[in-house]
């Protein structure tokens, strides 16, 4: 099978790569929260600008998450052998497992970042 001949790189053995997307969610969350808190405490201007700034963070975060998600999708390589159970003790199964889990975490992070931008769209006020 072609899958067995694929290279197994150090990046494919990296647990931190799997959790990079939720880490981006965490950074986005903190940035949005801190920006809003400082904005409101120090009176930095009208809330519409705040909405723009936070939406800007969101665009940047989502681009990074999509990029990572694609990388993880490639590592999972589902369309190669339609394998979604990775229960063998082989390099291939471990690589696809980390890719699969990382891809799903990227999807979750994508949605969670949108959740955390909605407040500035619908409730963008310091009051």
């Amino acid at each position: 099978m072609a899958a067995h001949e694929k290279p197994d790189l150090p990046a494919h053995r990296n647990l931190f790569r799997m959790i990079l997307a939720p880490t981006i969610w965490a950074i986005h969350f903190l940035l949005a929260y801190c920006t809003a808190a400082i904005w409101c405490a120090k009176d930095l201007g009208d809330p519409d600008t705040l909405t723009l700034v936070v939406t800007g963070y969101t665009v940047a975060a989502e681009v990074a998450i999509v990029f990572l998600g694609l990388k993880m999708w490639t590592q999972w390589d589902y369309l190669d052998d339609y394998d979604y159970v990775h229960s063998e003790s082989t390099d291939e199964h471990r690589r696809e497992f980390l890719g699969h889990a990382g891809f799903m975490l990227a999807c979750l992070s994508f949605v969670a970042v949108i959740f955390n931008t909605m407040p500035v769209w619908f409730a963008g006020t310091c009051l």
Binding site: P10, L15, A41, R94, L105, V111, N116, P119, V120, A123
Partner: protein
């Protein structure tokens, strides 16, 4: 966390500094012939005898010096169960007081003490320690390991927990218990003139230290002590949850420790961190508390779901549907749960937009939480379910937890929360989540794992009686509370007037509480009653994980030989594995040197890396815990000198423990572990569990430090003028000198490591001594730079003092470690090729350098920029 290169790969033979190091040699993975080779029964008996001798259990009164995970885990679990019964008893008294209006069974003050201790004990003395206890007990068995990587650390954690728990619960007997609620909000708690808040702060800080110790142990155990072949995609789901929860503890508990640190400085020395009159802010405590407090809920919930994740496949008799989905939801919940903390603070007047972020994250966390429940349901649908007793408890848990989750979605909406905040609706919600998310799965788990723990069966009949009593009683107690809350009854009132519509509902809750109590007592009786002979059958549930290869009667060696694993459910998929394990046909069947050993494998692919020599029974851990207890408990009574003496003695015990039993120089650098594989007996740096222990501990420590720095920014955003316009500042020249000295101390330590490796031991010794001197001077300069400020005058000098004190105190272990290495090189404990302590010291110093530089920047430069 990338994995080590393959066995046989030449690049594996050099460490970070391009030095030759020893690595595994020989055949791996084992060939088919090796796995089916016949085993000589004579030899098997001889090796079993030697192994048993190495893993003896101490007899008589020496039994208490045991450090085996099977003993420590059991004591730990029973102790926290006893604390749970006590905390439940407090709840019963409260329910009696509330049964009828205008009751005067107990006084208001006693009622305050009871609800404070009920919450604190259930959270700190039961929920979290119980997770750690059960994991210490079960994790090595799931992983086919002999023991945890640091058995004495578990024992130390247990004794610390016992001392701290008895101290805190004991305060109830003297009517001196904390009474300001389990979250201890200032200013109520800072102006309290009794010792209650101090008992809470210092006692629980002490227990938090024990919790972090256990978390370090569990994380290292999960990533380094898996059996060969058990790659990360084959880990039992329980291990995934333990890993996630361990990491969560590391990031959740330290903010509370930082908060406790500030709080106690205010209580003892009047530094005004939470006093608005002098620039402080009580909300900072709320933030630090809930940054801990909300993840805590998930720290409690996930391990119980982990138990469910082991019971469900056994009940359905098929592998879990959606292993990947469960990993996703465990990791995803771990992350998202850190974005929820302000939903406990919706009524504090924060800007709407801030509330929005936390409301949104609180709704988002439902996604991963829901996914794992669906995976369970899918597994049950796809399998042929045997309704075994543990599964009954899990089913009850799912029903109750889901109801709690639904009210959780309601209170996550800020406007709804404004209506029900601090009412009995919240009491109902939190009990539905915690009882359904923790107590039911836990009891189900105990029924499930009891045959492993005690080699006997619990009663099916008593178990069903207990379940129905608890389940009915629970709903009888807490379902009406939703209504009581919506009718306006506030939490934490010791009595209420008649005729406002709360009377009957309260009576119903009180009756229900006693029904729960009867259910729990039936369970407790079933737990302790004599049960006759040991059972014959090893795998009563027909489960597929390695745990059920256990020995009956129990042997203290953990496993007879460490298997080579190629499946998620080895007992189902690898025929003959149990027989071969028993016969000593896998790795490490022998203990030629009479030492306790286990195999350490690589983090991702579980390739064998080295043979770890594990510590055995000892008293020094108990002494260390006792003196640590003194160091935390005596300051409650303002006995600072005895407390310091205790701290010194605790340090001495720990140094003795490390020096005499860790990183011992082996009699031979390589060891044959069977099946044609030779492994090193000593490693330094990132392959060594000790290095990971330091790394993980310091990650937690950094989180606490970051919380202090967060405090500075918080004061800046929360007040009009921070620092105040006419404030005096730190002495810039001294701060700069301190930063330079810390840099020098770090550099000297860092350079000493390769010098020692190269054999230039004398030069390394000079650098270590010089580094210690520079560190001491650096700490001195930092403290001196702010000595002219008055920390009681305003929160600005106070927070600078707190940061300087924090950094200076952390310098003490830095210096001790430098001297430890110096002494090691002099007395032959450290040699050029056996240098693990130096690696760990350098790692500690990386973190200390960051702490010192950030502290210097915050004290010296930041105030000018704000």
């Amino acid at each position: 966390m990338t994995d080590a290169p393959r066995i046989g790969d030449t690049s594996a033979r050099r460490d970070l500094e391009k030095h030759e190091v020893r690595v595994a040699e020989g055949t791996y993975p084992p060939t088919e012939e090796m796995l089916s080779a016949p085993i000589d029964p004579e030899e098997s008996r001889a090796t079993a005898d030697r192994l048993l001798k190495a893993w003896y259990a101490p007899q008589g009164w020496r039994y208490w010096s045991a450090v085996n995970n099977s003993e420590v885990g059991l004591w730990y679990a029973l102790t926290s169960f006893v604390f749970m019964l006590m905390a439940g008893g407090l709840a019963l008294v409260m329910r009696l007081q509330l049964a009828v209006p205008d009751n005067d069974l107990i006084s208001a003050d006693r009622f305050n003490q009871f609800f404070t201790m009920h919450g604190s004990a259930m959270m700190f003395l039961f929920a979290v320690p119980m997770f750690e206890a059960i994991s210490i007990l079960l994790l090595p068995a799931f992983l086919g390991a002999r023991d945890m990587p640091f058995p004495r650390l578990s024992a130390y954690g247990f004794w610390a927990f016992l001392i701290g728990g008895v101290f805190i619960m004991g305060s109830l007997l003297f009517g001196a218990a904390p009474a300001a609620g389990w979250f201890m909000y200032p200013p109520l708690s800072t102006i309290d003139e009794g010792v209650g808040p101090d008992i809470w702060l210092l006692g629980l800080s002490f227990i938090e230290v024990a919790s972090i110790a256990a978390a370090v142990e569990l994380i290292v155990g999960t990533i380094k002590c898996r059996p060969p072949g058990m790659r990360i995609n084959l880990m039992p789901l329980y291990a995934w949850y333990v890993l996630v929860v361990g990491v969560m503890i590391l990031f959740a508990f330290p903010p509370l420790i930082a908060g406790d640190f500030l709080f106690e400085l205010q209580r003892s020395f009047d530094w005004p961190f939470f006093d608005p009159a002098r620039g402080g802010d009580p909300l900072l405590w709320q933030h630090l508390f809930w940054i801990f407090g909300h993840p805590e809920v998930y720290i409690v919930f996930l391990p119980s779901i982990a138990v469910a994740a082991m019971i469900v496949p056994a009940a359905a008799q098929r592998p879990m549907v959606g292993y990947n989905w469960i990993v996703l939801s465990a990791v995803g919940t771990g992350f998202l749960s850190f974005g929820l903390w302000v939903h406990h603070m919706f009524t504090t007047g924060l800007p709407t937009i801030s509330l929005g972020f936390f409301s949104a994250a609180s709704e988002a966390v439902v996604i991963p939480t829901g996914i794992q429940l669906f995976a369970f349901v899918a597994t049950l649908l796809a399998g042929r379910v045997k309704m075994i007793l543990p599964m009954l408890w899990i089913a009850g848990a799912l029903a109750i937890f889901t109801a709690g989750g639904l009210t959780g979605v309601m209170v996550a909406l800020a406007p709804f929360d404004w209506q029900v905040h601090d009412s009995y609706f919240i009491v109902a919600h939190l009990h539905y989540t915690l009882f359904g998310g923790m107590v039911f799965p836990l009891i189900g788990g105990i029924y499930f794992f009891y045959p492993f723990i005690r080699k006997q069966r619990m009663s099916e009949r008593l178990g069903r009686i207990s379940f129905w009593l608890t389940f009915v009683g629970f709903n009888l107690t807490f379902l009406p509370m939703h209504l009581t809350g919506l009718l306006g009854m506030p939490r934490r009132v010791y009595t209420y007037p008649a005729g406002v519509g709360w009377d009957d509902l309260n009576m119903l809750s009180t009756i229900g509480a006693f029904v729960i109590a009867s259910g729990i007592l039936v369970f407790a009786w079933d737990l302790v009653r004599p049960k006759g002979d040991e059972m014959k059958e090893r795998n009563p549930w027909g489960a597929g994980d390695l745990m059920w290869a256990h020995d009956i009667p129990d042997k203290f060696w953990g496993v007879r030989s460490i298997p080579y694993v190629t499946s998620r459910n080895p007992l189902w998929d690898q025929p003959g594995i149990v027989e071969r394990m028993d016969a000593g046909g896998y790795y490490l069947p022998d203990a030629q040197e009479g030492l306790r050993e286990t195999i350490v494998t690589s983090a991702i692919d579980a390739q064998p890396q080295f043979v770890a020599r594990i510590t055995g029974p000892a008293w020094c851990t108990m002494w260390a815990a006792a003196f640590t207890g003194g160091a935390f408990i005596l300051p409650v009574f303002h006995m600072y000198i005895p407390a310091m003496i205790c701290a010194v003695l605790a340090t001495a015990c720990v140094i003795y423990w490390l020096w005499t039993s860790t990183a011992l120089i082996p009699e031979h650098p390589m060891k044959d572990v069977g099946m044609g594989l030779q492994l090193p007996t000593y490693v330094s740096g990132p392959s060594a569990p000790g290095w990971w222990g330091v790394f993980i501990t310091m990650l937690g420590d950094m989180t606490a430090f970051a919380s202090l720095i967060f405090g500075v920014f918080f004061y800046w955003t929360a007040s009009e003028q921070f620092p105040p316009p006419l404030a005096e500042h730190a002495d810039g020249a001294l701060v700069l000198a301190s930063a330079v000295l810390y840099g020098a101390a770090w550099g000297a330590t860092r350079v000493a490591r390769p010098l020692n490796r190269d054999g230039q031991v004398a030069l390394a010794q000079v650098l270590l001594a010089g580094g210690a001197l520079a560190a001491a001077l650096g700490a001195g300069a930092l403290v001196w730079s702010i000595l002219h400020l008055d920390p009681t005058s305003h929160v600005y000098p106070a927070i600078l003092y707190a940061i300087a004190v924090w950094t200076a105190v952390h310098t003490i272990p830095g210096i001790i470690m430098q001297f430890y290495c110096l002494a090691g090189t002099i007395f032959g404990k450290i040699r050029p090729t056996y240098d693990a302590p130096i690696w760990n010291t350098v790692l500690f110093w990386h973190f200390l350098l960051v702490t010192a530089l950030v502290a210097a920047f915050t004290i010296g430069a930041l105030p000018g920029m704000l």
